[in-house]
């Protein structure tokens, strides 16, 4: 049902590219669905994977890429990306978001509606789709607001927004506080078959918080939210999901105690899913250090034991999706006292190298990582990508998982440079990105 992706630039706009077969040779092919990797070749025809195997003979007129043992995986599907259009194009435009995604091996983004002017009407969604189709080279599936202006009072036009191409509904980090309103929204969404994305957080406890309650917040004197607030938010939402039968996904579950609740709900057969940001999997509250605002996130960074629990949950499949929660903020929004600074970090380009830390650390293997980066997002959002199999779209990322580099934030393609990984030593470089068989990174090809 969700096949109205805006892949115009990736497909129809360059028909000549589709006619020419493309053969990747000598690759480590990562197959998240099968949970394994194989050494071999992959053939692309007409924008789709045509064959995977050993020593595939290049067809007539085929372009051949020697991967030299580098990894070839399904392109990343990043759920929860914020682009600054409409209203804050100076922070991130569809053009720059697309370039950043391509450089990061991200071939599909599912965008957030929490823009300066929220995406809460079919008219705004149409504008966004048109902008994206004009300038983006990746596939873009927009989410729309669950309630008008994300105020948690009146439901948005869920049906008309779905007709206009909304792939899911969320108020972003605004929690719908009124349970009656949320119950009605979930009931209506369930009837429509609309997916709802929740932000699990007790709104009262989290109000005004800049850090997680505990040793770090005490040391630094920051207003803090107890980790328990996440569990409370999750428990409330799970009860309403059970009541209404809504198709529901938690954007980020980041604490040990909330993960235990999620595990029980899944064991009890509730068809819910959850994500976690890459930052909560690779950083903890002490990384904030000397009030560094690029580390100010929503929810705030957690204790180390919570981070470890989240990594284990990704490994076990309890957490379905790893996302960047890409949130561009300009310098002015971040150059403020920690409490006043805007939350969020960019992540499209650092998602893969940061996630590879978990592979290098031995917590995940590559097929499991791409299960969380590509396959599960595709399954949960009803998208075509994420699979290394014949007939799947040739949305691919070629990368060297071991190549080291030091991240320079000014080298990022995003307009905003608010990354917590500035100056960090990372391993894993994207060598090339393809959408529908067309190379979109490095730029300048074709």
């Amino acid at each position: 049902m969700n096949e109205h992706g805006m892949n115009g630039a990736a497909g129809e706009a360059h028909p000549r590219e589709e006619g020419r077969p493309l053969l990747f040779r000598n690759a480590r092919i990562i197959d998240p669905a099968a949970g394994r990797e194989i050494r071999g070749d992959l053939l692309v025809r007409e924008g789709r994977i045509a064959a995977i195997g050993q020593a595939i003979a290049p067809p007539e007129g085929a372009a051949t890429i020697d991967c030299a043992g580098a990894c070839l995986a399904p392109g990343i599907i990043d759920v929860g990306v914020k682009v600054g259009e409409p209203g804050e194009r100076h922070k991130e435009s569809y053009r720059t978001a697309s370039a950043a995604a391509a450089a990061g091996g991200v071939t599909t983004i599912v965008t957030r509606p929490d823009t300066a002017q929220p995406i809460d009407t079919p008219e705004t969604l149409e504008f966004v789709r048109r902008r994206a189709a004009e300038v983006a080279q990746i596939r873009i599936h927009p989410m729309a607001a669950l309630t008008r202006r994300r105020e948690g009072r009146e439901m948005s036009e869920i049906g008309l927004l779905m007709d206009a191409g909304a792939v899911a509904f969320t108020d972003g980090d605004h929690v719908v506080e009124d349970t009656k309103v949320l119950a009605r929204c979930l009931t209506y969404a369930a009837m429509m078959g609309a997916k709802v994305i929740g932000h699990v957080q007790d709104p009262g406890l989290s109000r005004g918080a800049a850090a997680t309650a505990g040793k770090f917040a005490a040391l630094k004197g920051l207003p803090a939210v107890p980790a328990m607030a996440e569990r409370m938010g999750l428990m409330r939402d799970l009860a309403l999901v059970e009541l209404t039968g809504a198709d529901w996904h938690a954007d980020q579950v980041t604490t040990r105690s909330a993960l235990a609740v999620l595990a029980r709900a899944k064991e009890a057969g509730l068809a819910v899913t959850a994500g976690c940001s890459i930052h909560h999997l690779t950083l903890n509250e002490f990384d904030i250090g000397d009030y560094r605002t690029f580390f100010k996130l929503k929810p705030p960074l957690r204790a180390e034991e919570d981070r470890v629990a989240a990594v284990e949950a990704v490994a076990s499949g309890l957490i379905d999706i790893i996302a960047s929660m890409h949130t561009p903020q300009d310098e002015e929004s971040k150059r403020l006292p920690f409490e006043e600074a805007a939350s969020g970090a960019v992540g499209l380009e650092t998602l893969l190298p940061a996630a590879l830390r978990l592979v290098h650390g031995g917590q995940l293997d590559l097929p499991r990582l791409f299960r969380a980066l590509s396959l599960r997002p595709a399954e949960i959002f009803g998208l075509e990508g994420g699979r290394m199999q014949r007939g799947a779209p040739a949305d691919l990322v070629l990368f060297d998982p071991d190549r080291p580099f030091i991240l320079d934030r000014f080298a990022l393609h995003s307009k905003s440079k608010n990354t917590p990984f500035d100056g960090a030593r990372m391993e894993g470089r994207v060598l090339g990105t393809w959408v529908g068989g067309r190379q979109i990174f490095p730029a300048g090809d074709g």
Binding site: T147, S156, E157, I158, L160, T187, M191
Partner: protein
């Protein structure tokens, strides 16, 4: 003791469709037919209810229902009085029971009551000495509406059984829907309830109706399409996202009506929101819409109900007069 041939109703009041038997329903409709004929004559006045005091107590605003009851009473020769309860003693803090006590002292014969709360009319009926007609209580029942709908259907379709009737829209908050579900169910019709899940709680399936969320499916092969009014306060984001999304999916227009039988009739209890639950042209289409007929049947049905309750009242009083020691 045997009395005049056409018997009254079993109970003293008309509080809802639920306690009525099929025979009682048909007796009301048959008598109403006679009043339809009377109402079409030049001289409409009778003295059937001469000497009877009818008080219309509307605790909730109403124009058409109150007017309909008032005309019905006047045509039957009753002394009719309207009490606008929203503006009176209720505002001064009088309880419903106190109001009943006050009324008893005035010796009315028929009370026509509308109240915003379900069950309030039943409560009042327990405390007064006269006949009470429920003119709509909260989300509970609106029996004369269901009766006038039934009369309209029977006249249009020639029968009141084995029909497929779709009731569409805000079922959850509708007393009209509840009374119609009960009445049409008692007479052996197939009832479909159609509307968004937020306005059509799942409990309704247990009342023996088919529940549809899709208008086209719900209307397929129906004989009667009954639209309900969507209240303003429910339109904007609370139960449905917007008027335009509602109209797009659940508003009755010619395209959706095409799924019903070619001879299906369109009904609406009024007042209509054109462009919300029903297309304006369709509502005016004399080939499909029987909305004006419903209003006409309303007066006749109310006359019939009051006539039958008055017969019962006279029987009761006659019986009481026969008991020694109770008279005078």
């Amino acid at each position: 003791m045997t009395v005049s041939p056409p018997a009254g109703l079993e109970g003293r009041h008309l509080l809802g469709i639920e306690p009525l038997s099929v025979e009682e329903i048909l007796r009301i409709l048959d008598l109403a037919e006679e009043y339809v004929a009377l109402n079409r004559q030049a001289v409409k006045r009778t003295d059937t209810l001469a000497g009877i005091t009818q008080i219309n107590m509307f605790f909730e605003a109403s124009t058409r229902t109150q007017a309909s009851f008032e005309i019905a009473g006047k045509r039957l020769g009753a002394d009719v009085m309207n009490m606008a309860m929203q503006a009176s003693s209720i505002r001064k803090g009088e309880t419903l029971i106190d109001t009943a006590t006050t009324l008893n002292a005035m010796h009315p014969d028929i009370l026509v009551v509308r109240h915003p709360h379900s069950g309030a009319v039943n409560l009042l009926a327990q405390k007064v000495n006269c006949a009470v007609i429920n003119a709509g209580d909260g989300r509970h029942e609106h029996p004369t509406q269901a009766l006038l709908d039934a009369l309209t259907i029977r006249r249009e379709k020639g029968r009141l059984t084995r029909l497929t009737v779709a009731i569409c829209g805000d079922i959850a908050h509708s007393r009209v829907a509840r009374s119609n579900i009960l009445l049409l169910g008692k007479l052996g019709n197939r009832i479909r309830l159609v509307g968004p899940r937020t306005l059509l709680p799942r409990g309704f399936a247990e009342l023996g109706a088919e529940v549809h969320e899709n208008m086209e499916e719900g209307l397929a092969d129906t004989d009667v399409v009954m639209m309900l009014r969507l209240q303003k306060e429910r339109m904007d984001g609370a139960f449905i996202p917007s008027v335009r999304e509602y109209y797009h999916r659940w508003g009755l227009d010619a395209a959706k009506l095409a799924h019903a039988r070619p001879d299906a009739i369109v009904m609406h209890p009024g007042p209509m929101n054109r462009g919300v639950e029903i297309d304006g042209d369709l509502a005016d289409d004399i080939n499909r819409s029987v909305i004006r007929e419903q209003v006409e049947m309303g007066v006749a049905v109310r006359m019939a109900v009051m006539d039958l309750l008055a017969r019962r009242l006279r029987d009761e009083r006659a019986a009481a007069a026969d008991v020694p020691g109770r008279s005078g």
